[in-house]
């Protein structure tokens, strides 16, 4: 199996930056590759652990069935909300054309 020690390449970092919608500069990309690679080298300590039978832990305090009654509560004020938006028009949030989404 792939281990933490397998490290990270500049191509990986570029792909991750695209996924995260960060337009990193070439200089940043190079610097981050070195830094992330250094971290992963350090984090390789867990590769030696035998975790085959260990259950992942996702919730610190185990709760189940936390539910809310289906009752309407007051909404936020539209004007107040849209006033905080970078761009709004006609009661709605305005965004540039939606193209180039790789979805």
């Amino acid at each position: 199996m792939l281990g933490v020690s397998d490290r990270i390449s500049a191509a990986d970092v570029a792909k991750v930056a695209r996924l995260a919608r960060l337009d990193v500069t070439t200089e940043e990309l190079e610097r981050m590759t070195v830094q992330l690679d250094g971290m992963l080298e350090h984090f390789a300590d867990i590769d030696a652990l035998d975790l085959a039978t260990v259950e992942p832990m996702t919730q610190p305090y185990p709760l189940v069935n936390v539910l809310r009654p289906d009752v309407v509560q007051p909404c936020l004020d539209r004007d107040e909300v849209l006033a905080a938006a970078p761009s709004a028009e006609d009661g709605r949030f305005r965004v540039p054309p939606i193209i180039g989404m790789d979805l």
């Binding site: 933490v4 995260a20 350090h42 832990m57 905080a84 970078p86």
Partner: protein, 471 residues
Amino acid sequence: MGLADIVASVKSGAVKAADLTEVRLAAIAAREGDIHAFNHVMADEARASAAAVDEAVARGDDPGPLAGVTVALKDNMCTRGVPTTCSSKILEGWLPPYDGTVVAALKASGAVAVGKTNLDEFAMGSSTENSAFGPTRNPHDTNRVPGGSSGGSAAAVAAGFSDFSLGSDTGGSIRQPAALCGVVGVKPTYGYVSRYGLVAFASSLDQIGPFTNTVEDAALVLDVIGGHDPRDSTSIPQQHPSLVAALQQGVGGLRIGRITDLPEGADPDVQERLEAAFDTLKAQGATIVDVQVPAFSFGLTAYYLIAPAEASSNLARYDGVRYGMRVEATDTNAMYGATREAGFGDEVKRRIMLGTYALSAGYYDAYYGKALKVRRLIHDDFERAYQHADVLLTPTSPSVAFEFGSKGDNPLAMYLCDTYTIPTNLAGHPGMSVPFGTGAHGLPVGVQVLAGTLQEPVMFRVAAALERSLA
């Protein structure tokens, strides 16, 4: 004066909340320029809140359990109509349209908020150097950091800018700055305090807690802000016993655990104070027991895979569409990339990238999935240790407050500041830092008291005993 004394004198009318607030605002005016604890000082709002408390007292109404007490709020807690930035350019100028649950609880309790405190951007850091609005300085030595990420909150209490403050702790962000600033800092059990309105860093690790001058003050604050919140699905449903009441008991008969396989790296001055703490507790009737927490040393790795993974998702909403900053571009996708590139600082970007990588196709099992299993090991090791010990004692921080820039630009050096605090967040357990004398350069040293799930009462008893021994 402790919080209980302040509240009593405000309630009796002997002291006016308005006057207490002016004293704090004056302290801020005098020293904030040197310290920079705040992103935003709420002078007008504070005066109005204080006046409301005094009017309630005059009317004979109950002004609340924290009447007239001043508080500083970490600037990652939503305050309606008051700027909430997380020390990030991406949220600069944002006015939340709602109050977080703890903020509402404090308002209802009669506390007077004096400002929003500085932090490492989105709570990512251990020195408050990562703030987009400049660092906070340690009141004990302004050439040194206050710790982080809640550095502004720790400094605000240490500098006398407020009677107490709130911070958030994801990997040590309350306890470590508390230690470096010489105040009490508590991270409660995960789910003890509502996260609703706390801007998320790593959802399964974040907890809100207080910075105070005394252990009793911390107990009083937690009694007010703790408890179930139906707006937070991870909030513990049952009622918490009063921590103030628990303080009356001593430590006689308690088992204090020493972790024999604790990762090395604490400076000798810090180690010396930890030994003194064991001695003090022993002298007060506690037993010292040796325990092992073998997975403790893997905490840092597990944390730096889990927390950035969650953060990469939590911080994806800063996209320039509904609030916050936008860099205009010809299409939405380009707008996202430009906005986020310009809006986030280096450390935040680094963690978003690391977290995105840890979750991405083909890497999940090797990174995130593996880290979740290590998290289980750490939790289980702690649980085993708590079968033999009521609390565990460790250093809070490996060193006293360090100088600005001293960690260089190697992120790992900074991450190591949280070696002793991180495993507790992964386990979901409570922990607190108590000032316990001074170390190198006469700077404060904190001792960390750790306990099992919802064992805050016993944790506070031990912390109070340490505090008493210094008096």
